[in-house]
Symmetry: C3
Subunit: 265 residues, 3 copies
């Protein structure tokens, strides 16, 4: 099995977070209906600028001047698929990096076919749980939906293969998160089990990853820092709240206050 070559600790992400807040990326989120509000609030709490534009024509226009594009297939429809495709095509023409969140790929036909089509369209990053990454690499048939049936490390070889084949970065989320470019592997520990009891923490991570992918510098380290920021906020929230309602509030607050001593804005 692949072994992580690097560990990123909490001490390392502060400069990345500082850069993210300073750049305040405009993130075009084409994401599922369930998590749009939470995703926007997570990005706002990190001083980024979210925008959800979904008509095919407008999405293509918008992808050209956004800093990053997120494609999340959680509530895919044929109409939404066409709009996402238009946005990806425009993003590639404009050089806007785009991130794929293949929610429940493998389990359902429309999204599985679409995600396979998207692989060859130069995603900057793919972020999923172990079942999704295994299904995307055609090494498993997918879970019963959004929940993973596998531990993250079980998908590490599939992640490396996807990254190498499609020349992209792959993040496998779980108790430990892994980020890989096919050669290097960064392992990220932390987070809280309560994150799995608030809908959209994974989807919002993908939006934050999309934003970090637009920063200058080593993209693998940038997106790994995105995972660490979210995990650290989860840990801080778990130290303040013991149930998912108040945890969700504390999580957004933690994104705002995290390492605030490093900020000058």
């Amino acid at each position: 099995m692949s072994q992580p070559s690097q560990h990123l600790s909490a001490a390392h992400f502060a400069p990345f977070l500082h850069a993210f807040r300073r750049h305040s990326p405009l993130v075009h989120c084409m994401t599922n209906e369930v998590v749009q509000n939470f995703t926007a609030n997570v990005l706002l709490a990190l001083n980024a600028s979210p925008a959800m534009v979904i008509d095919a024509g407008e999405a293509a226009e918008f992808s050209r001047f956004a800093d990053a594009l997120l494609i999340n297939v959680g509530t895919l429809t044929r109409e939404r698929q066409q709009a996402m495709q238009a946005a990806v095509t425009a993003a590639r023409e404009a050089g806007t990096p785009w991130t794929l969140d293949p929610v429940a790929v493998g389990a359902l036909t429309l999204r599985s076919d679409f995600c396979q089509q998207l692989l060859s369209q130069e995603p900057a990053v793919i972020r999923g749980n172990a079942s999704e990454i295994l299904a995307l690499a055609k090494q498993a048939s997918g879970g019963r939906g959004v929940d993973t049936l596998h531990q993250a490390d079980a998908a590490l070889d599939a992640a490396r293969q996807l990254a190498t084949t499609w020349r992209t970065l792959v993040i496998v989320s779980g108790e430990v998160d892994y980020a890989t470019d096919g050669t290097r592997i960064v392992a990220l520990r932390g987070g809280s089990p309560l994150m799995t009891r608030v809908v959209g923490t994974g989807c919002a991570l993908s939006a934050v990853v999309a934003g970090f992918s637009s920063l200058p510098g080593d993209r693998l380290l940038n997106v790994a820092a995105a995972c660490q920021v979210m995990s650290s906020a989860g840990e801080r929230a778990a130290s303040q709240a013991a149930a998912p309602g108040s945890f969700a509030t504390a999580f957004v607050d933690a994104l705002w206050t995290l390492e605030a001593q490093h900020e000058t804005h």
Copy 2:
């Protein structure tokens, strides 16, 4: 007027809640755009697994392996109606119980026609407020939308008639909730007026009812327990919060902690 034959008190729902958390039903929610996030968080706080799949083809696929299906017509469109119909057909073929939440039926044409069509398609449960149940039974023309103009007990005879005619269970929500199979009537007291000041508490109840309908045992008692769980969470939240923003947070927290002493997970 019909008289309740049974009262379920807070002391009675603990074993039902325990079974629900242990089974962790996968609930396929085809619900309105306004409440998808809250509905998912309510189910997650009860240790269930929510999934919102909305494309017609995918919804049919998903209904086959979900434990329960919810159809809520709150933001119905013709496209969404087709997807819901496909899901209901697939659910019936697979034996997946499905629950109908006829939001604002009677007041608006598209949803009124669709709900009447759905009645003959073997819903396991119908959950609405008094105006909706009266409109569904064609005993009233419906309210001005989502708000009820009637007390729950005014709809009790309509509920019994619907349950008998369509061999289903009917829940009428209000200050007192009633659940009936046409013969037996369970009355459930409790809750808080603040629940009417947070959007989606009724819609989320229908999702929880759908989940409880998939448990083994007496379905009438199972879905009555769902009402009692939500009412008890509302009471607990009202003891901790006096305004709707903090009440909503406390409500989700209460679902997580309710009778936690009975849990071993």
Copy 3:
């Protein structure tokens, strides 16, 4: 540059808020997917009755018995545009006042064309940020999306021109909010910078404005009071919370408790 002719202070809005809560307007919100839940909860916390009806046929039916209609183009699609047009037509026939929130107008083609078409259809109120009002008046090309690039006072002349040309009221939101009928200008101070870190505060303001536009009396003062209510809630929330997650909760709570001593319900 135009000068405000009136200032409305916190002491002035209490009777307006009292009237709003007493009338409890039924507000038909055709708004973007991101903010539907928050918008509904804001209206509920002010004792109004929100309803999101989106099918073209149902939206036309519903606009006839709603007290007010909101059109927000934030996640416009061609299908949603048709439904909005049907609702506006029905609202005009029924005399239901309707409010336009031209989110990101100028930056994107579909919504820009639609908003220009809507100008001649007798909106009761238009509510936007400075960039949106300038773009609507064709005095600027719009921002990069939802964020304004201009201070509110920079759009004051554009607001007066729009109000005069289309015989409507225009609200320009910013650190200072302005409401004008083309002749009179009301300036409203207050609010909190944290309001810009919670998605939907502007969109929810438009929904509240729509509700206030349905009250008897001087419509300019009514909608100005709507701005003052939201700003005052923002100030109160900022005195209780220092980060956006808990701020959002406190904001909804503040709407519920604001000037509660004046209420008898």
